[in-house]
């Protein structure tokens, strides 16, 4: 019988952590521990003697993990990040999904793959949700600025809303810029001129 896999997920956000843990438990027989970001990270991870460590590639504390990959590091068993072989193909997919994974040397690829496939899918989903959220926020901000610029034009030139927007759009087209950028420039300039 093979030993139950021990997986550590480094994740500060509780909700995300739970989602990752649930998905992993469905994919394999494993114990999953969640560790938040903190300065004592390496020690806390080592305490779980993990077979696999998963961490967001965008997490700055990731460099602490590199200590675990060294023979003289706090973990007795060497931990590698996609050295070569069967795991190599997974590396590219993981990096694209924004996931970094470390696992102990000699872990059978057959045991690694289901974990990695699940983690990659989960991280890719989170990444997409994040970028969609950022995009929505940005669009909302831009609309606010455009509305303010329209208001300024309507007041200064006695235009109606449609004519004000047409003027903004024409200025943007003439200058080869985005309407939102022109609107922002107008709002900033108007603020400076008081």
């Amino acid at each position: 019988m093979t030993k139950t896999l021990s997986i550590v997920v480094v994740e500060e956000d509780q909700e995300r952590a739970v989602a990752i843990v649930d998905a992993l438990k469905e994919a394999c027989v494993c114990d999953v521990f969640v560790v938040g970001n903190s300065s004592g990270l390496a020690r806390k991870i080592a305490a779980h003697v993990p077979d696999i460590v998963l961490i967001d590639a965008g997490n700055p504390t990731r460099d602490v993990m590199e200590e675990l990959t060294l023979a003289s590091g706090p973990l007795e068993r060497p931990v590698a990040m996609f050295v070569s072989g069967a795991a190599g193909g997974l590396a590219q997919a993981a990096i694209e999904a924004g996931l970094s994974a470390y696992f102990v040397d000699g872990l059978a690829p057959g045991r690694l793959k289901p974990v990695m496939d699940t983690a990659i899918a989960r991280f890719a989903m989170v990444r997409q949700m994040r970028s969609e959220l950022a995009e929505t926020r940005r669009a909302l901000e831009e609309r606010k600025v455009i509305d303010r610029a329209k208001g300024l034009l309507m007041k200064a030139k006695g235009l109606d809303e449609e004519a004000a927007y047409a003027l903004l759009r024409k200025a943007a087209m003439d200058q080869g810029r985005r309407v939102a950028d022109v609107a922002e420039a107008l709002v900033t300039a108007s603020g400076l001129l008081g």
Partner: protein, 389 residues
């Protein structure tokens, strides 16, 4: 000339300036390239981006490509350091508890003498001093180990821990580390937040230490010699621009932007001008050559630098063969000379030198005959002769 985009990554630090300046001031554009710059959240993610092809060039800790060539740290993609981006520029500092004990001892924070600093630390420590560094493969680690071995600190007197620079202040406050070695602006940020004081500039240990390199995948360098030449020329010109003291204020403003370092311009200017404030009491120290981008052929990747790094990595990790030619070849003096000799007639004629053997600025052989190497000494007076390996 058709503009080609080169994706490049950096970690937000003052010494990423040559890439940022090459992009912002048109040095890249003049070479017909556009730099698509990405700020990496960590050194490991920067390494992965380069190794797995998400970017083609990166601002990298000088020991990192050497460590990879030695098989340390998990990823083995062959990288070439085609240029040294910066020399020196790090600081060693202590947290508040050590600072207070050093002051009580009468230590004057001279910011000059590594022997004196080590003796003072050895007197006030209660057990090994835990030092935070940004990454296991870094000049920071090698300088700290070198210093501890050759001083009153002793090799067993320090423990080195990885702490991301942005978390260094909180790690100091939480007592996870007692002291640190980081690249600017993070030392000045710690002083400004009142959590520590600066003890020594990195150059007090080794006065001409290659700190960051411009790294590319070796197979990319071979496949794209023309793009590499343009990239090298653009960053070399950016380094030359940065060497003029008159531009330090402008460069500081540029780097301080939210998209780059996002710290006050004044803190960045300290590193560029070598005018540091070493404690929250406001004591000033002026360091000549605190951070070099150009003078003394700073960009030239000496094979002997690569060998020095390899030998010290080998000592620390107990593996790898530092004498192998593949190690010296990580620092590509050949490519640097090939692509820059038209631009700079004063590149060194040699590719290796005895490290630590230049006590004062010294004219040396170059095609143009006007090259002067800057002082290059280890604080304990030792020399490193690569031919004796």
């Amino acid at each position: 000339m058709k503009t080609t985009t080169i994706p490049a990554a950096y970690v937000p630090l003052v010494d990423a300036a040559p890439l940022i300046v090459a992009h912002e001031l048109g040095f890249a554009e003049a070479e017909g390239i556009a730099l698509d710059l990405t700020a990496a959240p960590s050194w490991s993610s920067l390494r992965d981006m380069l190794a797995f092809g998400r970017v083609d060039a990166a601002h990298m800790l000088s020991p990192l490509p050497v460590a990879m060539a030695m098989g340390l740290g998990g990823i083995a993609t062959a990288l070439s350091a085609v240029s040294v981006l910066s020399v020196n520029g790090t600081v060693i500092g202590v947290g508040k508890p050590l600072e207070d004990r050093l002051r009580a001892l009468g230590y004057d924070f001279d910011f000059v003498d590594p022997f004196k600093a080590a003796e003072a630390l050895a007197q006030v420590r209660r057990g090994p001093i835990v030092l935070g560094v940004p990454f296991p493969f870094s000049m920071h680690v090698e300088l700290l180990r070198y210093w501890s071995r050759a001083s009153a600190l002793g090799p067993e007197g320090i423990v080195i821990r990885t702490v991301p620079p942005a978390l260094m202040a909180s790690a100091l406050a939480a007592g996870e580390v007692d002291a640190f070695c980081v690249g600017e602006p993070w030392g000045s940020v710690a002083v400004e937040r009142g959590v520590g004081a600066l003890l020594l500039p990195g150059k007090a240990i080794w006065s001409f230490a290659p700190e960051k390199v411009l790294a590319v995948r070796t197979n990319w360098a071979e496949a794209e010699p023309d793009l590499l030449a343009r990239l090298l020329r653009a960053t070399w010109k950016a380094g030359r621009w940065l060497a003029d003291p008159n531009v330090h204020a402008a460069a500081s403003d540029l780097l301080s932007r939210k998209a780059y370092l996002d710290v006050p311009s004044e803190l960045i200017n300290r590193a560029l001008s070598g005018h540091l404030i070493v404690s929250s009491r406001g004591a000033h120290r002026q360091i000549d050559g605190f951070l070099e981008f150009h003078r003394g052929a700073a960009t030239f990747p000496w094979r002997s630098q690569s060998r020095w790094i390899a030998q010290h990595l080998c000592q620390s990790h107990g593996s790898g063969n530092p004498t192998a030619d593949t190690i010296a070849n990580v620092f590509r003096s050949d490519l640097h000379r090939l692509h820059l000799s038209m631009l700079d007639p004063d590149l060194p004629g040699a590719s290796e030198k005895v490290e630590g053997a230049i006590p004062r600025a010294t004219p040396v052989a170059s095609a143009g005959g006007r090259l002067t190497l800057l002082p290059n000494e280890f604080f304990d007076g030792q020399i490193f002769d690569p031919s004796a390996l």
